[in-house]
Amino acid sequence: MSETCINCGHSLCARRVPIFSKLDGKEIESVVTLIRRKHFDKGENLFFEGGELQGLIIINRGRAKAYINTPEGKEQILHIFFPGDFFGEKSLFVDKKTEYNVKAVEPVDICMISKKDFQELIKKYPGITSKILQELVNRIDRLESMIENIGAKSVDSRINAVLLEFAQKSLDENQIDSAAQFELPLNREGIANYIGVTRETVSRKLNLLQEEGVIQMIGNKKIKILDKNRLKSE
């Protein structure tokens, strides 16, 4: 049996969640009354990927790992959640599927606010909605300026840079200058994730670079950089 949330006093854990940060004391109190708790034993799954996310979940005690299963049934760990971490806040407003599995790696206590309860609450206190809206708009602002920064570095230059980076990790300068062959540490998909573009874009750009004589692909993984300077200049 758990002693869930005895130390947390609830309002503390609710305050950690940014979308609640603009709420005043009374409003936080009303949100806190919605908190439900549950204990998971070590090795138990909180949920599996692709299921219905029931609400906002705050890890209150213990650590949990987020992971996905590769088609071969291997685990790929994405993230470790520590006490105080939370996820699923978007599911308070819209239906969300879980994007990964979460498993308790030690005994875990969670606090949860369910979508169902939360929707009831904001019907009663519409003020809460507008404050959460403010916080969400702030967040969109921050994301927009972040995207602008990322976008500024064009897709071309990101691929060029990553090829040079990989070359420098496996070869020394002389070898690079003499167009030595090396192995890419990631497949197309991996490179795409690494620099934040689609796999198709990576494949297309690599083919283009090859046609232009900048690189030469040997099979799927091996590569030679024929013209280092053109990778740098773009």
Partner: protein, 220 residues
Amino acid sequence: MSNITINKTDALGDIVAKFPKAAEVLKSYRIDFCCGGHRSLEEAALEKSVDADKVVGAIRALAQELTENQEDFTKMSDERLIDHIINTHHSYLNTNLPEISRLASAVLRAHGDVHPELFEIYKDFHALKADLEQHLIKEEVTLFPGILNSRDEGKVLEEIEDEHEGAGEILRNLRDLSQDYTVPADGCPSYEKLYHKLEELEGDIFQHVHLENNILFKRL
């Protein structure tokens, strides 16, 4: 047992029979494998609008941490399987149904005013309890002896299967009412214990019904 192959076209009941831990995964997606055990995983996933490949992936991953000395119910004789069902699952219910009932009364009295869903939970649980109590006896005095003596108990069997379905429905309802057995902020330790026991009860009944529907009755 490392070569466990699971495909999305397999029947749910067969998957759990071959690999009991799959029950955990299916439960989490709220896929019913005991009464709807004849459906393929693909069908059931579609119904819940989850990606069948994800479900298969999750089961495969769990399959790899399989404990080796796990009992294979599909290989047990009728007699041994029936013994196991009675000694494990009927005996679990005989002990726990009365205990949960007492707990439910205490919690209802203490928290029913603030959490009115407890009244529904109380009613549902006791409907389940009354139904199961006669159900267990029916199996023990009629159906199981009939199976062991190769008597045709077609009508009783139908009743039994309907009752399984009824129990499954109540359990689904209980899970909804309790919001996945999460305890409200002001819930006391007895509240926690009640929800913990109810969730354990759900798991036990699923496994119990699975052994009967998908393994024992399929042999008839």
